[in-house]
Amino acid sequence: MSKFAFSSFSDAMNMDGHGIYVWIVFALFFIALSTSFFIFNLLIKKYKKRIK
């Protein structure tokens, strides 16, 4: 793998100005995926209980 692209951790955060967008998209994907998993597991529990 190529070398670490940023000089310091703080630089990695703001990626000279564009970091804000990258991290928003990161948060968006993280939230979307985790809520999907959560919702479907919730639905499974709900319908499982209904069958019992």
Partner: protein, 251 residues
């Protein structure tokens, strides 16, 4: 005469193999493995993509959104294709499981299309200066999102599942035929409409060191979405087969 025999054989094979019961148990066994493997691949690819790849000459660091946006929009379209194929299988061979799968893919597809749309427009801010730009790819992703919504609302408005499945299948097959047409017409429209700005083409011509994490992200994301689809299909099976006894004694 041979044709009838063939169809009967295929039908028997499909019904035996693709019965919801066998699918359910197979999937339960496969699910944990798939989840952990694809999660680790995806996390590894994102870390590699975000931190260990060089800065893009033109766009600076904002190009790193590509590791989110391109897999999402690619998976969104392939989910629609998967849905159309399982709808076709349902219509031709009357395999109930295919209808369950098609119906369970729809909400997941809508979610993936939405985050592809959002990441595409967020990516637009640094590159084009506006959050919404009628770029060909963003517009066709938006249309794809509308088609997903149309499919879900169509299926929800019928309480007779069999009727809902059939109508759902017809629309998803027609929609599938429409996707390349819409893509081409939007490209044709937007290419003359504004000077060819930086379009986020499917296969970005960037140097390989950025490509490897992209493929890994693609595979990881596909695995994760497959897990969500599996969960969604389990929900469908619980809804549809609730008074079958194999479901009762599983619960």
């Amino acid at each position: 005469m041979l044709r009838e025999i063939l169809i009967i054989v295929i039908k028997k094979f499909i019904h035996q193999f693709a019965s919801p019961k066998t699918y359910f148990y197979q999937v339960n066994r496969l699910y944990p493995w798939l989840l952990y493997i694809s999660l680790s691949i995806y996390v590894f690819a994102i870390i590699w993509g975000l931190f260990f790849t060089p800065k893009d000459f033109v766009q600076g660091h904002s190009y790193r959104i590509i590791y989110f946006h391109v897999p999402a929009s690619f998976i969104a379209q392939s989910l629609y294709a998967a849905m159309a194929i399982s709808s076709a299988v349902f219509l031709i061979w009357r395999v109930k499981l295919a209808a369950y799968l098609a119906r369970s893919i729809a909400p997941v597809g809508a979610m993936v299309t939405f985050i592809a749309l959002a990441s595409g427009s967020i990516w637009g801010i640094p590159t084009w200066g506006t959050w919404w730009e009628w770029d060909a790819r963003i517009t066709s992703t938006l249309i794809l999102f509308i088609m997903y919504l149309g499919l879900i609302s169509l299926h929800n408005s019928f309480n007779n599942f069999d009727k809902a499945d059939k109508l759902f299948s017809y629309l998803s097959i027609i929609g599938f035929v429409q996707i390349p047409i819409i893509k081409k017409s939007v490209d044709w429209w937007s290419s003359l409409h504004q000077p060819a700005s930086i379009t986020i083409s499917d296969k970005p011509s960037i140097d390989p060191s950025m490509l490897y994490p992209l493929f890994m992200a693609m595979i990881g994301f596909a695995g994760l979405v497959a897990c969500i689809v599996i969960l969604s299909s389990k929900v469908q099976i619980y809804i549809r087969e609730k008074n079958k006894n194999w479901v009762k004694d599983y619960v």
